[in-house]
Amino acid sequence: MDRRDPELARLIDQVERARSHRAPVDIRGGGTKTFYGGPPMGEPLDVTGLSGISSYEPTELVVTVRAGTLLSELEAALEEHGQSLPFEPPRFSAGGTVGGMVAAGLSGPARASVGTVRDHVLGVTLLNGRGELLTFGGQVAKNVAGYDVSRLMAGSLGILGVICEVSLKVLPVPRAGATLCFDWDEPRALEQLNLWASQPLALNASAWHDGRLHVRLAGAAAALSAACGKLGGTAVAPDAADSWWRGVRDQSGDFFSVSGADLARGDCLWRLSLPATAPPVELHGRQFIEWHGAERWWRTTAGPPEVRSAAALAGGHATLVRGADKSSGVFTPLSDVLMRIHHGLKQAFDPACVFNPGRMYAGL
């Protein structure tokens, strides 16, 4: 990328002004994930002008995209060549951008089997808080030159810099897919998922809710028919299955829609990230389990201390994804030593502390 690019020059100018006034900026793409993390504050820094696919060579399995490009546009371009972002980034509504996808670091149903956004980032060009345009990583899958700053940007919620362009590893869409459905209660579903995890079954995604487990397989057709025979269950028709998984990916179903009235009642959406073998969590409310048991969504009115201690007891951590009162923090508090490193990194990238203050932790 070239600093003289007019759109980039405008962003650099705004960052430099913010730095000299020590005024917070709110880095914005499509604004589809403003609910995630602490409340945005400061003057919006609009990245949507940095748009377009810079290079895409399907045989290299790499695409380089400017951060403001619509996620839907990128995925459509990949689809033309039979490729995709295997980690299934959620689209909470139309307008989500590639930069937002990387910064939020959220992955969809296939994550437990294929890895995260972070795993597929190969390189990033970013603007740090000094208005410097820097490139880390590259467009090749194997690259250990210097610290892996590009992957550090995944899930950083914009607190370190403005992602301007990103190179991603893409993969061919699996040759075949199949979805099976089982009427099982939570303990039975978890037990089976844990057993299947260590077997070569082409398991690609799983979701349990309200007494029913959905399992998606993906891979070579011959392997799938063998695995389906082994697993049993009821097959779901392909079209119905696709739209069902899309709903899970985009959190468009009933379970995930949190209305104003729900929020007023103190009904929150929590995400618990646990070892897949953790036994059922004891909270009151409703639950939706993904990632073969490693991700457990809760709709509950239980207070943050109760949810966080339940997660800690199960060996994991909890995130308050949607809630009216985020004053006690969104993410699980860090140990002192990790917080010190976070402050050190913030200082290293954004010494005037202008980028997305408070989106991740207070004081960062």
């Binding site: 490193i341 990194l345 991740m360």
Partner: protein
């Protein structure tokens, strides 16, 4: 020494020259330094105490695993202490339900797979040194291997790293679940070459062992069509478990060494492997064969059993020792380039052979663009050594110009410091140093590695080439 003796057991400190000599270098033996002392703690508490002492006294610390690294990442500092973690060699837990293993940092890579085998699981990243290299070293280097196109690098297969900060404070990156709150620090710690923290325990992801693997050996009459075949395999939506290319000179060298029945007339041979369930492999092998034939393969052989498959691989896996057999010394380069530039790169290397008057043989992790040219030379001859270094630097600069990177999997260490000046701008290198100081403000952990100083780059910059922009592009350089 007295301060260390106060916190470590007798025999855990080596300081006589004859005792520290084995630690003077890693597998990059051309670069050596004698350390002040070597310490071999046995417990995490002793690691913490040794770090605390060194930190308090301002002494550099160089953590070391098996010392198999190829870039001098574990080379000692003349005024520093080598922290050998060889005694942390226990596998603590294997959990089939979460497909994870918790192991101490000094456990050998292959030992993890051996211990996981009864559960039908294995640890996927397989650097060629896997019988000797340790998981702690793999974390430091973000090691790859021949199967990483399909199964990923170390980073993709590690969930949690436990260890200590430079001052001895315990720390944990990642978690026992699939993610951790806050910034993804695991991403920067993995591959940081021991410069950000000291690793003592690692939770790795295990993968269900493929039931079957079969390998195709395909010959090509020219290197361009071999390169095009690689692209075509991937364009057809196939992700092989392994995809390796060797040029004619390399094939001849390894076949003389291990008799792998390679086609010695071919300009290049390609090894293309499929693994998975028997049904999956049967389907994929047929598709691979079709693509390779359509890409102009002059001869194709598919392994019919495990013995033959291993024979195909024996040549590739012995590429380095075989090169040792045809030359007194060799220097292994490790750059990555976009796959489509392969033919261009090999052509450039051919020209460099006459330019520098040295021979070079090539093996290539074709699936992920990682090239290992082995420059053959005689280290006894200072002029050959000098020409070899220039040859190597030229390969790395060409790789950067073609859109690649100076190191795909061996790390920067001390070997590629100059080349880092070519790949990164002064501002980018300053940002790396700032990241380093966020973890290690006094810069005591493995100082002098990976990130070149501004002065070093300025000196190297006398013939500086940045991002393909030669100062005088028309001048021949020797």
């Amino acid at each position: 020494m007295a301060a260390l003796a106060g916190v470590l057991p007798r025999g855990a400190i080596l300081f006589r020259r004859e005792d520290t000599a084995p630690y003077e270098c890693d597998a990059l033996t051309a670069y050596r330094t004698s350390p002040l002392a070597v310490v071999l703690p046995e417990t995490e508490m002793q690691v913490a105490a040794a770090l605390e002492v060194c930190h308090r006294m301002g002494v550099p610390i160089i953590a070391r695993g098996a010392g198999t690294g190829l870039s001098g990442g574990a080379m000692p500092h003349h005024g520093g202490v080598v922290l050998s973690l060889a005694k942390f060699n226990k596998i603590l837990r294997i959990d089939a339900g979460t497909c994870t293993a918790v192991v101490q940092c000094g456990v050998r890579n292959l030992a993890i797979s051996e211990a996981a085998a009864p559960y039908g699981l294995y640890y996927a990243p397989d650097p060629s040194s896997q019988i000797a290299c340790t998981i702690g070293g793999n974390v430091a280097e973000n090691s790859g291997g021949v199967h990483c196109l399909k199964y990923g690098l170390t980073l993709h297969n590690v969930l949690r790293v436990r260890g200590f900060m430079v001052d001895g404070e315990p720390v944990e990156f990642g978690s026992g679940s699939l993610d951790a709150p806050g910034l993804d620090l695991l991403s920067v710690v993995v591959g940081s070459e021991g410069m950000l923290a000291v690793t003592t325990e690692v939770t790795v992801k295990l993968t269900p062992k493929p039931q079957v693997a079969r390998c195709i050996m395909a010959s090509f009459d020219d290197i361009e069509s071999a390169g095009a075949a690689v692209a075509s395999v991937i364009a057809h939506g196939i992700i092989p478990a392994g995809l390796e290319l060797m040029d004619k000179a390399m094939t001849a060298a390894v076949d003389a060494f291990v008799h792998a029945d390679y086609d010695l007339d071919a300009a290049a041979i390609l090894l293309c492997e499929s693994d998975g369930t028997p049904e999956e492999v049967a389907e994929e092998i047929v598709r691979m064969e079709e693509v390779l034939v359509a890409s102009g393969a002059s001869r194709i052989e598919v392994s019919c059993d495990e013995a033959q498959r291993l024979k195909f691989w024996s040549g590739r896996k012995n590429a380095f020792p075989a090169s040792g057999g045809i030359s007194p010394d060799y220097m292994c380069m490790d750059s990555t380039i976009p796959r489509r530039r392969l033919a261009e790169m090999l052509l450039a290397i051919e020209q460099m052979q006459s330019q520098y008057g040295l021979r070079c043989v090539n093996v290539f992790h074709a699936g992920d663009g990682n090239l290992h040219p082995l420059i053959l030379f005689d280290a006894e001859d200072p002029d050959q050594m000098r020409r070899c270094e220039l040859f190597g630097a030229d390969i790395l600069e060409t790789s950067v110009r073609l859109g690649g990177t100076v190191t795909g999997e061996h790390g920067v260490g001390v070997e590629k410091l100059n080349s880092m000046c070519v790949q990164f701008s002064p501002l980018e290198r300053a940002q790396f140093l700032a990241v380093k100081r966020a973890f290690d403000p006094l810069e005591l952990l493995n100082p002098g590695k990976v990130i070149p100083t501004l002065r070093r780059c300025a000196e190297y910059g006398k013939m500086h080439v940045h991002r393909g922009m030669l100062p005088f592009p028309d001048l021949p350089r020797f």
